[in-house]
Amino acid sequence: MIVELAILLPFIMAAAIPFIYRRFNKVHIGWLVLAVPVILFSILTTYIPRIANGETFTKTYEWIPSFNISFTTYLDGLSMIFSLLITGVGSLVILYSIFYLSTKESLHHFYCYLLLFMGAMLGVVFSDHLMVLYAFWELTSVSSFLLIAFWHHRKASRAGARKAMTITVTGGVAMLAGFLTLYTIAGTFSIRELIANVSIIQEHALFIPAMLLVLLGAFTKSAQFPFHIWLPDAMEAPTPVSAYLHSATMVKAGIYLVARMSPVFGGHEVWFWTVAGVGIVTLFWGSFNAVRQFDLKALLAYSTVSQLGLIMSLFGLGSAAHALGYSSESLIYTQATFAALFHLINHSTFKGALFMMVGIVDHEVGTRDIRRLGGLMALMPFTFTIAVIGSMSMAGLPPFNGFLSKEMFFKATVDILQLNIFSVESFGFIFPVVAWTASVFTFVYCVIIIGRTFFGKLQPDRLEKPPHEAPIGMLISPFVLVAFVIGIFFFPNILRRNILAPAMQSIYPSFPAEELTVPIEHFHIGTELFMTIGVIIIGILLYRSLPKWRAIYQLFSQKYTLNAYYERIIGFAESKSGWFTRIYMNGNLTYYFAYIYIIFVTIVAGYFVLSDAFTWSPSQDSPVEYYEMILLLIMVFAAVALLFAKGRITTVLLNGVLGYSVAFFFVVFRAPDLALTQLVVESVTTALFLLCFKFLPDLTKEKVSRAVKFSKATISIFVGATVTLVGLSVLHYEKFEPISAYFEDSYNLAGGKNIVNTILGDFRAFDTMLEVVVLFIAGLGIYTLIKLKAKKGETDVEN
């Protein structure tokens, strides 16, 4: 029950906020929202001991049984880690945001989106069914779009939100295709069943395409190279959002997916090289680019990209153990996955704290540009402490948790050299080399964060506000996180036993649980220690000579960056689609009707001709009565007269004649429901028309060329002929089974004698329901068009 509650509670609260936010104009509504993650986190922690004992919890609700879609929640070690991060970091971020965002902002929107996001994220990590996972996955994209564009009056926010959405949703659609491919291979959407049938799946020809499609989703979401370009732009979001989405949760959804699907795909060479390769490239590229940033948030964004690459590459390396199967030799490779999970938690703690630190600097000083900052140490001692602990942990120094996982990362890249499959023996050397180089850059940018912000000369005239320490409320959350940074360093094995070990078991289900993790040691002599020492020495040298080699970055032409390519593709698509749209959307209703009718005739008549379905056998039709003939003549007369009508009132009335005659036909053919509807609709539309009547200009005779007239007439004749012929032919149509027999039993099945109404209300109520929604939206659309149209020249967005 707890898992369903965890998914539902944020959504329930998000739905409640619009109704209750008005009561919170004096008190910050964030306090109310804070209760959600705190409650969930507390309840989830009570499950830790049982998860640590190897228990898992599943519950299934039937959702769409006919499509084999069920809402299955699954709580195991892996989803435990992520759910604890989502709710734990979520609580701290909301607490922080209470002090960060003033009550003047539209907080009810903000928290509504944030809760939606939290619920979606929990949905992703708890879903066992791939389709449900996909639905939540896209919901995280949509809610993060709303969050990034929270300050939507700024152009950069809108652009950043659109970029993030475009890239992650494109990846998400690819992932959907991958899931569907998996379904065609294995016949199941359940992740647990997929893992159970992994040997069958791997044999299939579609295995590699499915894997690559799923990876595309994971890579775009987790900002892996070359899709990382959205993450720096997403920094336009308010800082609490950056701390939450772009360090602790959303970007980790891709990591989660890779971890979760490792048992399915992990044994394959393509998976090993793609995940580890893309990860290691991202690690290097992110850290290399972070060094040149001047905006602290952009720097942290690139550092997040790089750290995500690190975790991703570790999962890739760890998958070697899947390929080898369980043996005492293959256990060494599982340690890469262990390092990945460990670093995942560590990264959330220190990166969350760092983002909050940058938020504090931005909030109290008014700028994030390191060229304008400096000398803040004495003025903001607490913020400085947070920055030092966070950065040093990220740089991989003791006594902080980043040191432990960074050492394990180095060890994993060295250990992989012993692998003798997947041609690691020839190319494997790139892992330790690139990992070490990237770590040097990581060290450099960590020093930049501290050095350029807190040391050096204070430049008060270049700051927006006089610098001073943040209020206590903003400091609580980052201090809790840095407490974890230090706490995890000193007691890593508590984490290992209770949190990491069960997650390892989820990733390596066929391995014995007790052998998967070894106690984490603080001090040891080995290659990795020398690598760390090397990173520190070279890193300090590089930092000192930073101004000299900064020019390297100028060697890349701005024209050839990925961002420039992205802009060019988007610009091209916009101009071409604009051009194409202007061709057919010319604002002339006549053209629209022409398009619709041409397509209608082509498809319907074309299909009937191709399948030879036109039949003509009047002998079987019932005889035509004389009053039907009269009605028909009236209609023909009205229709022809319409063409020659001079005034508007005449056309409206003639149109009415047509409508009412149709209604009479319904009466004659004993369709009272249709007749009633037709009569009322006809009356209402005529009334509507008469209302607008006085605003319309006089009917002017259209002056069109003979050719246009001719083509219009041709289209009309073809449409008329098609409809008539189809109408005559359907009586004898035999390609499909008629569905009318199904509705004959309406009284027994739906308890109604009026078949039309039972169809509308019972058999096809889904249509009716959606039609009602469409009607409502159309009504609102008309209302907004008329009532809320902007005054001429008035605009409420800045461009």
């Binding site: 039937e62 769409i64 049984p65 009272p672 429901d673 007749a675 009633l676 509807t677 009322v680 609709v681 009356s683 209402v684 009334a687 509507l688 209302l691 607008c692 739906a750 308890g751 109604g752 004698k753 009026n754 039309v756 109404n757 039972t758 509308l760 209300g761 019972d762 109520a765 889904f766 009716t768 329901m769 009602v772 929604v773 009607l775 409502f776 159309a778 009504g779 609102l780 008309i782 209302y783 008329i786 009532k787």
Partner: protein
């Protein structure tokens, strides 16, 4: 300009009553005879439109102080609500239930949850219809 519309007003006073009655009848008759939520809603909506046409907007609004946008929204909520409610009884989405009840005065009556669904349809139709016509007629 003041229009002399005594005849219109007198007729409308009676006709609206008849139309409203017809609308309610059509709504309830729906499941077994011609009628139902859509037509019922249309008829009721057209009665209200007739009132607005005859009397000015403020007079009618004093008598019926509804925000018709909210009426439509309530309708959509009702229609989707009955659909969702069925999930909580562990039956597929949109499943409707019906039963015979022995009610005082009415005797044995057939009641169905479709009626709530249809009420949602009717309210949406009324709300949307009136909203559209009001916004068009109020436009300068």
């Amino acid at each position: 300009m003041k229009i002399n519309d005594v005849i219109l007003r007198t007729v409308v006073k009676m006709v609206v009553f008849i139309i409203l009655t017809l609308g309610v009848y059509l709504f309830f008759a729906g499941h077994n005879a011609p009628g139902g939520g859509f037509i019922g809603g249309l008829v009721l909506g057209s009665a209200i439109v007739l009132l607005y046409l005859t009397y000015d907007i403020e007079t009618v609004h004093n008598g019926m102080p509804f925000d018709f946008k909210k009426v439509a929204a309530l309708g959509v909520l009702l229609a989707t609500g009955t659909a969702i409610a069925s999930i909580f009884f562990n039956v597929p989405f949109l499943t409707q239930a019906d039963r015979y009840f022995d009610l005082p005065l009415l005797g044995e009556t057939h009641l169905s949850t479709v009626m709530i669904f249809e009420a949602g349809v009717a309210l949406t139709v009324i709300g949307t219809l009136v909203t559209i016509i009001l916004s068009i007629s109020e436009d300068e």
